[in-house]
């Protein structure tokens, strides 16, 4: 996956409907159910059918940077836009990006490891418009949410398709332990996840890219 350098502002690229995105090649990412066998809860294993997990199987990812900020635009088909938790029984849509913080090849289906933590950018349809959370994990069930998030996100749902743009400064030196540091020329591993609210997906119950993809930030 190539993150090309463009000349456009954060304000322009943060809009999922911006004309700038039309010319950026999208990479199609095959998504799979997260393996139930890895769930850190015997209850989740016993109460779910893996065949029903991970409703969203096709994700399109576009990425660019402008020298100071990096952008990811994730889009997928979804007939139901679940944007609000209206009752105990309802869940909202969401998506995320995972990148190992210190490189290495930590297991993607275990949310990193003690030695190789993973930084995950997390957007949920009920978050305040424009915001996303910064999280980091050192293995299953260990995800922590950072106090401050350096990530912005904007989303649209139109004609049965979600489009979510994440934006972040390439380097966030004030969060060196909690967030991946990027720069022109960086080569990192990257993974994706989507939660389908109407399918009761939350936590580790989601669809994800089973293997790390290679991301190169063009110089």
């Amino acid at each position: 996956m190539q993150c090309a350098k463009v000349t456009a502002s954060r304000g322009q690229l943060l809009d999922p409907a911006a004309a700038e995105w039309a010319s950026i090649r999208g990479e199609s990412v095959k998504m799979s159910a997260t393996p139930l066998a890895n769930q850190p809860s015997e209850y989740i294993k016993a109460s779910r059918d893996e065949k029903q997990v991970g409703k969203v199987r096709d994700l399109t990812v576009q990425t660019v940077h402008n020298g100071s900020d990096i952008f990811f635009r994730l889009s997928w088909e979804d007939a139901t836009n679940n944007v609000e938790t209206t009752d105990i029984t309802t869940f909202v849509d969401g998506c995320g990006i995972a990148i190992p913080i210190k490189g290495g090849d930590p297991p993607i289906d275990e949310m990193g490891s003690k030695d190789y933590p993973v930084n995950a950018w997390f957007w949920r349809a009920d978050y305040e418009d424009g915001t996303a959370r910064n999280t980091f994990a050192k293995g299953l069930g260990t995800t922590e949410f950072s106090k401050d998030s350096p990530i912005q996100a904007k989303a649209t749902w139109q004609n049965g398709t979600w489009a979510v743009v994440f934006a972040r400064a390439l380097a966030v030196p004030e969060q060196k332990d909690e967030a991946v540091q990027l720069a022109e020329g960086s080569a990192v591993k990257i993974g994706f996840a989507v939660w389908e609210g109407s399918n009761g997906e939350r936590a580790g119950v989601k669809s994800f890219s089973k293997e790390w993809l290679d991301l190169t930030v063009e110089a």
């Binding site: 393996p35 066998a37 890895n38 769930q39 850190p40 809860s41 015997e42 209850y43 989740i44 294993k45 016993a46 109460s47 938790t85 009752d87 105990i88 029984t89 297991p107 275990e110 299953l140 069930g141 995800t143 949410f145 939350r202 936590a203 580790g204």
Partner: protein, 371 residues
């Protein structure tokens, strides 16, 4: 090095899944560890159904935004649908060691907090023409089927069943949480949820067979009865127990052999967990209700059959309920005949504060923190 075959990869994955499961199990075991266990015994023969415990809990703990529909302590009429509606049919708990899938109840099934027409009646000048009533014609509430009960006249029957979180020894909620946000306090076994770790995923709500975990929609966290641990830490009994006019709630450590809890549960075996078959080892125990005899078809009293069908009590409290009822009746007969019964004395509670084990401090004597 030769690439792994598919079969080898699969085997590695399975091996890794086993390691992860073992790791998760040992983490869960740590979260369940406790030196002592606080337990409660509710004497159903003394419950008046007055809802004072319910209101004591409500006013103390669940008045904030998002908690409107929460009643951590409830009292329902049995037989009945209870709260949330039909909770006994919602699954959860364990079958053997295997977790049993459960449902998420809706706020409607719990019984939403009703709005009343106070404005209209008290301040709108319609005090003489309009009744004070809930707005929007609700068709369910947390105590909707009060006093309906079961059976046919002249053998109709009912009794009250107060419920709180059971602070289980094997909490299904704790096991279900993928974030290890739920734990038993090491000093007293009270089950609590860390509001920092909880992210509102609600697997605990699904897994609890008693449906005593509530999801706060305003804060996106799960909340539940905390056995009034800030009171417990000051030697004060939980509010539901302290306020109970029927004096039917015993509180204490399960392992204190001199205390009433140990005597009722372990020694006399007359206090039983509700739906023990759900496998969570609940720490609230119930003295089953003794009922008068039935009338037969010709209207005569049939001493051989109790008004509350024993089968129904077995459904609630297990097979052991028969022996418990027999013991209670035998001891009662002893006192009727002028004899003495330690069990009856324990249940009568001559000294109010003996209900509360080591937690006998009057909360009114404590200094309140400044707001």
């Amino acid at each position: 090095m030769a690439a792994l075959t598919e079969e080898e990869k699969q085997r590695q994955k399975e091996q890794r899944a086993k390691e992860l499961a073992a790791e998760a199990k040992s983490q869960k075991a740590k979260l369940k560890e406790c030196e002592r266990q606080i337990a409660m015994v509710f004497d159903l023969n003394k419950c008046l159904g007055c809802q004072t415990c319910v209101v004591a809990c409500k006013t103390l703990w669940t008045r904030d935004e998002g908690m409107e529909y929460m009643w951590w302590a409830t009292v329902n009429t049995q037989p009945g649908k209870g709260t949330p509606k039909d909770w006994e049919q919602m699954g959860g708990g364990f079958r053997g060691e295997e977790p049993r899938p459960g449902n998420l109840p809706t706020t409607r099934e719990f019984g939403e907090a009703w709005e009343f027409n106070y404005e209209e009646v008290f301040f709108g000048g319609k005090g003489n023409t309009v009744h004070l009533q809930p707005k929007g014609n609700p068709d369910w509430g947390p105590n909707w089927d009060e006093d309906q009960g079961g059976g046919q006249y002249p053998n109709s029957f009912y009794f009250y069943l107060p419920r709180i979180c059971n602070h289980c020894t094997e909490p299904a909620c704790l096991d279900a949480c993928p974030r290890n946000a739920i734990y038993k306090r090491p000093e007293d076994g009270i089950v609590v949820i860390s509001e920092e770790r909880c992210k509102g995923y609600r697997f605990c709500v699904e897994a609890c067979p008693y449906k005593k975990i509530y999801y706060n929609l305003a804060r996106n966290i799960a909340q539940k009865c905390i056995s009034c641990y800030p009171r417990i830490e000051e030697g004060v009994p939980p509010a539901c127990a302290w306020q109970c006019p029927g004096r039917m709630r015993f509180v204490g450590f399960l392992d204190n052999e001199q205390g009433p809890i140990y005597k009722l549960v372990k020694q006399w075996k007359v206090a039983l967990p509700l739906h023990g078959d759900r496998g969570t080892k609940a720490n609230v125990y119930y003295i089953p209700p003794i009922s008068p005899p039935r009338f037969d078809a010709s209207g005569n009293i049939d001493e051989s059959k109790p008004r509350i069908p024993t089968e129904y009590l077995k459904y609630l409290f297990g097979e052991e309920v028969e022996a418990a009822l027999a013991t209670l009746q035998a001891e009662m007969a002893k006192t009727k005949a002028g004899g003495k019964s330690e069990l009856m004395d324990t249940l009568i509670v001559y000294e109010w504060k003996t209900l509360f084990g080591p937690f006998r401090t009057d909360p009114a004597t404590l200094q309140r923190p400044k707001a």
